[in-house]
Amino acid sequence: MSFIEVNEWKAAKKQFFYKLTAYKGFFISLFIAQFVALVFSYGGGMHTSISVDLVSLTVSFYSGDMLFGFTLIWAFIVAAKLTSENYRNNDFSFVSTRISSNLSNIALIATLSFVGSVTSLMAGVLLRVIVYFTTDIGMIYGKNYLLSPPELLTGIYAAFLYLALVCAAGYLIGAVVQMHKVLIVLVPAVLFGLVSYELTKFGTIRWVEYFTSEGSLLMFTLKVISAVLIFFAGALVLSNRLEVRR
């Protein structure tokens, strides 16, 4: 990336460390969101009952889905927030260009995604441990209970990619919305329309399925990385011409 000067990288690095301390609240909001998800997951586990002649089998399902779902939503919100005027202006109180500001945001997003992925998987383990100690052990079905270390690592890796993807999408959407006030209403409306169209026409959202139905970790990685690059490049181009209205 030769159009980025050496000094810009340096400034971005300083901004990144500045943002780590300045936006530490993001981490706390992540933890609280995960805690809420944990409470919901524990209290509102899914139950299915089967009754066959004289036998009634009730299965209480637990999963880390809500934890990960909450983390995804958090990631989207945080990434979109970074593009808002207040956050951009904070950068320009000190040394900054649009590019260094974006680069440091991307580094921050990568860090947030990493922390989000590790903690959401670990919180899933915490849920298992809580269930273990609060349930009669005889009732726990062992099959998916224990997460093997490779499974845990795969989960963290995949979760990181998903979070980066959602962040990049949020960042791009945020950058688009910042272009004009009308877009604040228009963009969510268009997105909502697209989602309902896909759901009614295909019963699924194809551009979500493009990622979720990919069974190969390698292909998934490539798909996510290319999408993330496109999203960030778009956001960069959009914001690079923007004036700082401080």
């Binding site: 000067e5 000094n7 301390t21 300045a22 904070n90 040394v95 690079n240 401080r246």
Partner: protein, 300 residues
């Protein structure tokens, strides 16, 4: 060496020209006062210099580069105004230590000393400061950063008189210790005139004049006396301002009288008085020679 060079600079908002065909230069290590009324284009100009706004036409270089979105310019300047924003999670002391990372010439001694002097609580959050306190804090950042180009846009907003005085004194002392290019925008010249070396006066987005402060003090002269007494002297001079008080008339004119003429004026019973630089600026940027009085005279 010139830090800022600008020619034909224009910034258009819709159909309004906030900065109109502006040409000037600012030399290194000088303190320049950017004076003008509200809406004269001071802030717009400063934000173009700082690289925040894009110019619409003309040419501008800061440290020989186009400042818009340029890291090499951004590194060398700091822009201080009352809208500087900081993340709400940071305490004042944390903002200062963060700023230190960005500015290689950061002077911690001055920053901490001033914070203490102005009784700003290090653990306080920036958004809970009063307007004057926030301005004081921003000014501390401007001083301590010791940037080669330091821009203050209306830095004293909300400060009380004592703090303003302290600020000007701190600015001057720090400047002597470490000379650098400083631009100070204000609509009040009288408070800062002792500080300034140059004045750049804007009117309606254009340059009205750019002069060393010493010359500005002699730029205009006030004449007062009966109207017929000085009629002969003012045929070919610019009248900047005039006021009628009973049968005594007071006019302000460009001071380009020859010495002999000055003598003749003195003998004709017309009183000649210097005009404060502040007033000169007001007269130069007024829309109307008679000032506000005209409005009331007409309505009578």
């Amino acid at each position: 060496m010139n830090v800022i060079e600008c020619s034909g600079l224009t910034k258009v908002y819709g159909s309004r020209k906030a900065v109109n065909d502006l040409s000037f230069t600012i030399a290194e290590n000088k303190i320049t006062g950017l004076i003008g009324r509200n809406g004269a284009g001071k802030t717009t100009l400063l934000k173009i210099i700082a690289g925040y706004y894009r110019k619409s036409a003309g040419k501008i270089t800061v440290f020989s580069k186009n400042p818009f979105n340029n890291i090499q310019v951004a590194e060398k300047l700091i822009f201080v105004d009352d809208r500087m924003s900081f993340p709400p999670a940071l305490a004042l002391s944390e903002i200062l230590s963060s700023a230190a990372a960005f500015y290689p010439h950061w002077n911690k001694r001055i920053a901490d000393g001033l914070l203490n002097y102005f009784q700003l609580e290090p653990k306080e959050k920036h958004q809970y400061l009063s307007k004057g306190m926030a301005s004081t804090f921003n000014m501390i950042i401007g001083l301590a950063s010791r940037c080669p180009l330091t821009i203050y846009d209306e830095p004293t907003t909300g400060m009380d008189a004592a703090v303003r005085k302290d600020f000007y004194r701190a600015l001057l002392k720090d400047y002597i210790e470490q000379p650098r290019t400083i631009i100070l925008s204000s609509h009040l010249l009288n408070e800062i005139e002792d500080l300034l070396e140059d004045v750049l006066l804007l009117r309606g987005g254009s340059k009205e004049l750019q002069l060393p402060i010493a010359e500005l003090k002699h730029y205009a002269v006030g004449l007062s006396g009966r109207e017929e007494a000085f009629a002969e002297f003012i045929n070919d001079v610019d009248i900047l301002h005039q006021k009628q008080m009973g049968n005594v008339k007071y006019i302000v004119v460009r001071n380009n009288f020859s010495e002999s003429l000055q003598k003749r004026i003195g003998m004709s019973g017309v009183e000649m008085t210097p005009v404060a630089t502040d007033d000169v600026c007001v007269y130069l940027t007024a829309g109307n020679k008679g000032g506000i009085d005209d409005v009331f005279h007409r309505s009578e």
